[in-house]
Subunit: 142 residues, 2 copies
Amino acid sequence: MLTIGTLGKKTGTKVQTIRYYEQIGLMPEPGRTEGGQRRYGHAELDRLAFIRHSRQLGFSLEAIRELLDLSDDPDRPCHEADSIARRQLKQIEQRMARLEALRTELKRMVRECSGGNTSDCRVLEVLRDHSECLTDHEDIGA
Amino acid sequence: MLTIGTLGKKTGTKVQTIRYYEQIGLMPEPGRTEGGQRRYGHAELDRLAFIRHSRQLGFSLEAIRELLDLSDDPDRPCHEADSIARRQLKQIEQRMARLEALRTELKRMVRECSGGNTSDCRVLEVLRDHSECLTDHEDIGA
DNA sequence: TTTGAACCTCTAGCAGGTAGAGGGTGTACA
DNA sequence: TGTACACCCTCTACCTGCTAGAGGTTCAAA
């Protein structure tokens, strides 16, 4: 039987985060000692490892919830899991494209910096003048 | 004199967001009509455009606060603004590298999906088994 | 003058946690 | 058996960067 702290160490998760996952129903309510402390078994360790790995791949908690539901039911067809993963891949590719555009603009800004005073700083100037901006950024999220 | 709605349209900012920027001290308290409605001039329009453009380049509100302080003082040396921009560029390059690694792993997952049942789904299997994971993801942020 | 779009404040909510207060538990060691 | 102290508990509030809605007021065109 594992304490919450041990579980946290084994999976690289903060104790508070494990309790948070329990609160939102992603982790089950574990058994308790007489004194009320949580004790976990292997099933919970596996489940938490699954969650953490999925988070590291950028899946949202909602997507992970779906994936966990799927993996609880071995007879459901695989394409649902596959399509969640594809969706995730697409999101990541979109984010990368966006970051690529930002990188180009920032590089240009930095390259053109004169090293003088802020009054003729290229960085500030570029930020002030949106019309020089080549990229169209619809939304701001990372 | 511009209403808050007009300012919002000109800069692509929601009205609530402008009020939020005022609340956190990023935008100044503007003049008001007798009835209490906000009215803006050109200085505020420029300032908001600066903020929005910086946000679109991924700068945090704190970084923008620094940049605005710098640009308010034309005699300060430029290298502070330059280093904020370089920091931002670095962050973006780190994020891109991270996303690149995730993309590789997700692509592998999706490619290997059998199309059968979840019981032998490659996607779920990979998520369950962290040891197959080639990348080391320190933190999860986007 | 009337209509109705746009404005006002205030509070609460989103993701995905993190931090701290104030107190209880479990166990190793003497 | 006592005691130290690391770890656990709940609860609440905070973080970023907004967004939504309730309930009410103002402005400007027709």
